[in-house]
């Protein structure tokens, strides 16, 4: 503990005419309570105990793991891990005082630039809690920027937890979520979209590459959406895909979001993560979250500060664009560091490696005897497959072989899809893919 000794506190208080008891005499006796938790423990004991408890986990290092579904295991460059320990950035607050926080502000400005470039839109904020809640804010923004429209259309192949998040974000704005069926290619059914969309539709919300690893036909979706006067919001669950694929803005998305965790830190049991959020210029003042702008200082040198704060809760209160306050700034710094460490070529190679691994995985699973419903054209780094036996039973069987063969679709999707959704990234070894393919052959 880093606290002054009680005798020092008593002495300090005495100098201003107080005792320690005086300080709490304003708390009425009937509501006074002491803490009903154990007494403090020495640092080394807490540390050892937490370390040994964590050691009970079976990690990605202990078994061949094919889990994605919104949290992705990518290699994090050493520069990023180095930056994760810089105390000045780690222990700063939100940079309200611009003059003494130019470094953090510049980093966040770089992050905004990278986000806008990746998603191919005009402007971006300094980040949201995670990709899933960023998508919730995007859909809410679609509702707020269309008058008298209350319906959001989204394909049924969005993972059910992310669907629940969307529902929570739009409930207060009287929004409703309607689902569209999946096409035989594993993407959004365009005919169904055309039938369902009308002047009640505020927005169409799409994920790409979607939960089955498929690339959605955003061109056609954007056209249908805009003809109906609705907003297109697009979420990219793994940002590394945009090292190969065009960003949503390229196709005309009005608002785009993504999950930046893959480039900031390992899965860490799902959090913290990092939401990316970008819009076109027309919607700049309606966007949620913190923004950093370029300006100059009293010496006319380049400088940065938080800007357009009148959108935010601390000024506009109940009329704010969002309630967001603390977000994920530090992860934005780490995300920026990873991308800068990769550079243009390195980042494109990273995406290429993921697509290659994903494609190889799909091909090997099919060869080994699994049913792979959506294989052509090739997708990104995730694939839906049905093993020869029941998915849960197969996952149990795989445990004995030190393999986690993917997420049972019925848990992730809850939409009647069977099978497992497997993910391969640049970290997935050929041996791991061999082991999974062999296991499928064994149980066939």
């Amino acid at each position: 503990m880093d606290l002054a000794h009680p005798t020092h506190i008593e002495a300090m208080l005495e100098d201003v005419g107080y005792t320690l008891e005086d300080l709490f005499r304003d708390i009425p006796q009937p509501i006074q309570r002491s803490l009903e938790i154990p007494k403090g423990e020495p640092d080394h004991k807490v540390e050892q105990d937490i370390q040994s408890t964590l050691a009970e986990n079976t990690t990605l290092q202990d078994q061949a793991t094919f889990l994605g579904g919104g949290s992705y295991h990518h290699w994090i460059p050493p520069e990023t891990r180095f930056m994760a320990k810089r105390g000045e950035l780690l222990t700063a607050y939100t940079p309200y005082q611009a003059e003494i926080n130019q470094g953090l502000l510049q980093s966040l400005f770089e992050f905004q630039t990278l986000t806008a470039r990746l998603l191919e839109l005009d402007a971006a904020n300094t980040g949201m809690y995670d990709g899933a809640s960023a998508a919730g804010e995007a859909v809410l923004m679609a509702l707020r920027t269309t008058r008298n429209r209350h319906q959001i259309l989204t394909p049924e192949h969005i993972p059910h937890q992310r669907r629940s998040i969307l529902n929570n974000y739009i409930d207060g704005a009287s929004g409703t979520l309607e689902t569209l069926p999946t096409s035989p290619e594993g993407t959004t059914d365009l005919n169904a979209l055309e039938d369902a969309i009308d002047d009640e539709t505020a927005g169409v919300h799409i994920e790409t590459p979607n939960a089955y690893g498929r690339i959605e036909p955003l061109d056609e979706i954007a056209q249908i959406t805009h003809e109906a006067g609705a907003r297109l919001t697009v979420h990219v669950p793994d940002i590394t895909a945009l090292g190969l694929l065009h960003g949503p803005g390229h196709y005309g998305a009005d608002i785009a979001t993504s999950e930046g965790q893959p480039l900031a830190l390992p899965p860490s049991y799902g959090g913290p993560a990092l939401g990316l959020f970008a819009v076109d210029d027309a919607h700049l003042r309606r966007m949620p979250g913190r923004l950093v702008g370029h300006t100059h200082d009293a010496n006319d040198d380049d400088a940065y500060c938080m800007t357009l704060q009148t959108r935010e809760q601390h000024i506009r209160r109940s009329r704010a664009t969002s309630n967001i306050c603390t977000n994920q700034s530090f992860l934005a710094v780490l995300f920026t560091t990873t991308l800068a460490a990769y550079g243009e070529t390195g980042f494109k190679n990273l995406a290429r490696s993921n697509a290659d691994k994903g494609h190889t995985l799909a091909a090997r699973l099919a060869e080994a005897g699994a049913h792979v419903p959506y294989q052509d054209p090739p997708g990104y780094n995730e694939v839906l497959y049905e093993p020869p036996i029941d998915a849960d039973a197969f996952r149990d069987e795989a445990k004995a072989h030190d393999i986690d063969p993917g997420i049972p679709a019925k848990h992730l999707m809850n939409n009647g899809t069977d099978g497992l959704i497997a993910c391969a990234t640049e970290t997935t070894t050929p041996d791991a893919i061999d082991a999974l393919a062999n296991l499928i052959q064994e149980v066939s």
């Binding site: 509501i31 579904g69 290699w75 926080n101 470039r117 209160r317 109940s318 603390t326 390195g346 490696s353």
Partner: protein, 497 residues
Amino acid sequence: MDPDTFRQARWDEPTLFDLDEGPAPEGPFDHETTNEANLPDEHARETVGIPTVPRSRLTRHLTRQAQMTFGVDTGTYPLGSCTMKYNAKMPEPLAHEPDLLNVHPLAREEDAQGILALLYQLQEALAAIGGLPHVSLQPAAGAQGEFVAMRMVRERFRDLGEISEETRCEVVVPDSAHGTNPASAAMAGFEVLEIPSGSDGCVDVKALEDAVSERTAAFMLTNPNTLGIFERDVEKIAEIVHDAGAMLYYDGANLNAILGKTNPGAMGFDIMHFNVHKTFATPHGGGGPGAGPVACTEELAPYLPVPRVKKGKDGLYVLDDGDERSIGAVKGFHGNVGVLVRALAYIRQHGSDGLTRVTETAVANANYLYQRIKDAYPAPGEALKKHEFVVTAEGLWEENGVGATEVGKRLLDYGIHAPTVHFPINVKESLMIEPTETETREALDALVDALLSIGDEAPGVVREAPFNTAAGRVDDVHAARNPLLTWDQVQRDQDGS
């Protein structure tokens, strides 16, 4: 106290985009590529726009950015309502343990028993600290915790059949509430009714009685309040709110003031959030990540976000999805786990005795500080403060145009971060000061000396501060009139002019 000893590093540092050397023939890290996947051409992009910077230059860039940033590790940070305490170093590496980082959130429960055990321990600890029995760790930040709570209250009244355009449609907040309170309530679909505080800065009990009715779904309050004053009438407030059939919500932002003295459950609150990054000292990261767990009564428990960690009969930990009453999820997976593990480590390190001392020391520091500066910077309301207080610089402002903003900017020259300025809005030229328990008496005295010395300095100098920081006074008016949020927008703006 001399403002001319502190100097922040001042690098004329270009952005990554100015340093961009253009795409290199090969990337720095050789990930295997086989070129087996041929994605459809219409989706393939030629360029992404990631800058290519030599690794040595990149490291210097990052180091310089760190040097031009001010954290609790750098100096005193009395930013009111933010609880910028020194972040104990012991919990930090635990969040970077490979045995935590490398667990996937959708791993089999049997593969995640270690982390589930820790999350369970934290749920139990928070329930005890809050005096409310049920906890969800999912919300990513305090504001998201508020939003969750308002969603839960709405679903509860929906189930009771009480939600209509006339009933349970409104959330009441004091005018001194943090902006997140009304914003969260509005996001959850409630109308917001702000009631004026009494002249002492506390809830005007009569005004509250008049404001609540069957229209009211909840009253949102923090105690001690925004002025750092304990609401002695809190039991009466709870009674009024409950008699109207509404819920009482506790904003956990000021929890650092009451650990081991009272708790939200004892005060009569139905639901609350914790800011674990404030109270339990996880570093603030320049604006996150934090975590905002929610605790509530038995009545509201079925509405909590899921999944939650439960202990099964066989002693194994399981993830429980609740039933159809749960609001579901507000963010992906299980919460900001890395932040939550730090919080658990901090709570265990301190324990009941340590956390009580945390509060005693934080409140002692705030009162010492206030007594030392009150002649120059008086505060409204009663003299006894809790962990923070709000003073006014109105005297200096009237006299020579040195207001809260100017005092804050000049403090930076002394190597001390500014307090929160111009909040709350019900105090003119307000400076909200929260020293926290981790500042030594020496540091408190330095802050006192700086604040008093600023009052004696030449107003012309103070008004132009700061001078010793990486940038001089930043033109935020220009930034807001001409928003340039990306490097590309800056280039276009400069080409156009």
